[in-house]
Structure formats: C-alpha cells, structure tokens
C-alpha cells in the first residue's frame, strides 16, 4: 500500500467523507477515489456501486483485477426536538444501525429520564453544530414545530447536503417554513429536498407510527442516495 494513500484514506475517514481504496491485485498499485470523482468504464461503474452500497469486493475491468475497499462514514440521525415522536424514533433508529443524537434547548423536554441511553443535547442547534457540524452522512429530522429551533438546523442540513432532511408539519405549516427558509437564503432546489410532511406515507397516526415512517424514509434516502447522479452521468 502506498503510504500516501493510507494517509489520505485515514484523513477522509476522520473527516467522515466516503472514500474507496482501489488496489490492482496484479501489481499492487493503489489509489484513493473520493465520492464524486469521475472514473470511466467498468471500473467506474463498480466504484459507483461500491459508494452506494458500501460493499467492498473484487472487480474485473480492463483485463485486470481490482479490489475495491469501500470506506463509508457511518450514517447518523440527528433529531431536532426531544418530543414524543423522538422517544420512539431514537431506540428504533439505534436498532436499525443509525446512531441518534437529539437536540432540544428546552430543558424540560431534553432530559435523560425521557431519553435513556441516547446522546442528548439540551442546547440550541446553533451551538451543537459549531462542535459537530452536519455532513452528507447525516440525516436530519426536525420535529419541534417551532421555527426558532427547527429553521437554523434545516438550513444547515441543506447547506451540508445531508442525505435526508425531513420536517414535521402540515402542508400549510411547510408553506410558511419555505418562505422563511427562502428568506434565509435557501435555493428552490434545496427546498425541494425537504421531506414535508415528514415520513413515508403509511397513514401513520400515533407518535410511534410517525417514528416508523420517518425511519423508513431515512433508510430509503440512504440506500438510494447517489442514484440521480449516476442516472445523469449515464
């Protein structure tokens, strides 16, 4: 392995960015491919698939055998709002393999008694994001209903290209939210990425059912991410 490739790979992994180490098993040469780098041909197609699935494996291309070791950051779910829905969503998401963090400055809501064993920040999103910014392997669900708490996080999630951005509220509520986000400088394309009303349409009624709908939508967003880009390139 090339020492420079190892250093680059570890730097990408520390920064929570996806990277693939491509090794030619014939001569041992290797290189790092980052998400979005253009690689032509069969190798490029295999690399795109590895970024999407996170699966490592060998591929035959150009008469050679390459090993692709896919290093994807672990996806995480950040929930704005320590509310009833979040109480159901947090343990479910954790079981599904998506570590959860909950942010809510309202100390009456954000208590360890209501959220045992969950990373909880009884602070404003602005303050938490300074320490732990969003990235493209973060999903954001904003469920407080309160623009003072939700809006900043929504705009930050759109700017960081979070793989999922969902916001609780009726169509009417969302229309008002769109106005506010546009005023904050969000673009129409960004606004279109917000899932609102939040969650897959499964007719969810109770807080726990809404949590299922949000988790399912998060998983769908994660597993289908990058598909548009691939379609555009083909």
């Amino acid at each position: 392995m090339d020492p420079y490739a190892l250093k680059t790979l570890n730097a990408e992994r520390r920064a929570r960015r996806a990277a693939i180490l491509v090794t030619d098993l014939g001569d041992g040469r290797d290189r790092i491919v980052r998400e979005g780098d253009q690689v032509a041909g069969d190798l490029g197609a295999a690399i795109a698939k590895a970024f999407r699935t996170g699966n490592s494996g060998s591929v035959e291309a150009e008469g050679r055998t390459f090993f692709l070791n896919a290093h994807l950051p672990r996806p995480r779910l950040v929930v704005i709002g320590a509310v009833h829905i979040s109480q159901a969503l947090a343990p479910m998401a954790k079981i599904a393999g998506y570590p959860v963090e909950i942010i809510d400055p309202r100390t009456a809501f954000a208590t360890p008694e209501r959220f045992p064993d969950i990373a909880l920040h009884a602070e404003w999103p602005e303050d938490v994001l300074k320490r732990q910014p969003f990235d493209s392997y973060t999903a954001l669900a904003a469920v407080t209903h309160d623009p003072k708490i939700d809006d900043f996080a929504l705009k930050a999630a759109l700017d960081a290209n979070c793989f999922y951005v969902g916001a609780l509220g009726s169509r009417k509520t969302h229309a008002k939210r769109v106005e506010r986000l546009l005023a904050l400088g969000a673009t129409a394309d960004q606004i279109a990425r917000i899932h609102a009303p939040i969650g897959l349409d499964i007719g969810a009624a109770s807080p726990a059912e809404i949590a299922v709908a949000v988790l399912a939508q998060t998983i769908h967003a994660f597993r289908s991410r990058g598909l548009d880009v691939k379609g555009a390139a083909a």
Binding site: P3, N10, R14, S58, P99
Partner: protein, 112 residues
C-alpha cells in the same frame, strides 16, 4: 463504542498502521478480499502487522491470524505482496483453517 460515528482511533487498524509508519516501523497490511460460505470477518477487514510481529485488527475470528502474521513478516522482508487462502481446518491442504467451514482470501502487502 459500537455506536460511535467517529473512528475508534485507539483500535482502528489503519490508523494504527499510519502511526507505526510515522514511528519509522516497517508495516504490512492484510486485507480480506474474498469470502465463501460463513466467514467470520467481512470483505475489506484488516489485520496490520509490524516487523516484530505485533498486530491489530482481524481477518478471521482468531483462527488464521497467526499464519497471516508469519507470512506478513516475509512480505515486509521481500516487499512482494502475497495472496493467501484459508479454508476449513480438517482439509489436509491447509495447516491452519477456519473451524466455521468458510473460506477466505487474504491479500498481504507491505506499506511503502
């Protein structure tokens, strides 16, 4: 820290390999590149080895690490990468094996 979203710097084999390299040590990296049947560690898993035989990470559940470390020290000396294959222990073709019944292919290369 099963649920951590950040690298486990103290245990991550590739981070350890980079640290060894910075300390001026000779290092080999072993990678599971293929598995058949029930294999204990998924494709892409790493074992990193230094010239003294110290190692971190895993390519199996502990069944073949000893053999990989021995081969890795040769790889560090020669600089030539090797492809190793391990299968079930009771087949005579292999000295060490996987009691789980799977087969794995491990690529061992020198760092640098």
């Amino acid at each position: 820290m099963e649920n951590s979203i950040y690298l486990d710097e103290a245990r991550d084999p590739l981070v350890i390999a980079e640290g060894w390299m910075k300390d001026g040590k000779d290092v080999a990296i072993a990678t599971v590149v293929e598995t058949w049947g029930s294999a204990p560690r998924p494709v892409g898993s790493h074992l990193v080895i230094d010239a003294d035989g110290n190692f971190h990470g895993s390519v199996s559940g502990g069944c073949v690490e000893g053999a990989v470390v021995t081969e890795a020290i040769d790889v560090i000396d020669s600089g030539k990468a090797r492809m190793l294959e391990f299968g079930v222990a009771d087949e005579t073709a292999w000295q060490v094996g996987l009691s789980c019944g799977g087969r794995i292919k491990v690529y061992v290369e020198r760092l640098g």
